[in-house]
């Protein structure tokens, strides 16, 4: 399988770019592109941002995930505190980032 040229992968590694993540994802969907997003390490705090649900609703269920280990390392309960907008199977590993690298023809770090 080769990367989809119509698909944008967003790797979120900073806890201060929610406006950009939502802005870019919304613009990409508006332009008819597909979006895949992964939040890692301290960026998982963005799941508590009021706009996170809007982002989650914008993406297909299999196209947005957070790093479960990061969520635990940052002090949250990965089982009892699944972020609003996500379901338990969207709590993933770094392999999801590997999926972005493989599947997305375009890529952005935020």
């Amino acid at each position: 399988m080769s990367a989809d040229p119509n698909k944008l992968g967003i790797f979120v590694t900073s806890p201060q770019n929610m406006k950009h993540v939502l802005g870019v994802a919304t613009a990409a969907v508006r332009a008819g592109r597909k979006v895949m997003v992964f939040f890692t390490f301290k960026a998982v705090h963005l799941t508590k941002h009021p706009d996170f649900v809007r982002l989650a609703n914008l993406c297909e269920l299999e196209e947005i995930a957070i790093c479960a280990d990061s969520y635990t390392c940052e002090g949250y309960d990965v089982e009892k505190d699944v972020p609003k907008g996500l379901v338990p199977r969207q709590m993933r590993t770094q392999a999801f980032h590997g999926g972005i690298i493989d599947e997305c023809g375009k890529y952005l770090v935020l």
């Binding site: 590694t13 890692t40 390490f41 301290k42 770094q94 392999a95 590997g98 690298i101 890529y107 770090v109």
Partner: protein
Amino acid sequence: MESKKIFFLLPNRMYSGDAVRSTLGLSIENHFSYSVFMYGEFPKFSEYVKENIDWIRDMEGDVFTMGADAPEGIELTPITLEELGEKMREADFIIPYGLPKQSKTPPPACSEE
């Protein structure tokens, strides 16, 4: 799946340890994956971090240090800014990870000292 060449750039000590884990995550996915510690912004080198560094190397990646010597007992590959730039011309993905370098020295509350 084609193996890609991927550089993680780490100028902030609060993010550099986890970025090594993320680098290894892509090594395991069969990519050529590289961490670059910048300006001596090293994490605490726990056994876990040291093992991750060894594993990245075993998987044909590397872990560099730019702008500072490696701490004693930690094996890192020295690289200059210019060498890094030239190497990254061949990269498929460049990942400026986490936050930029801090301008202040960490206070005792969060210092590794």
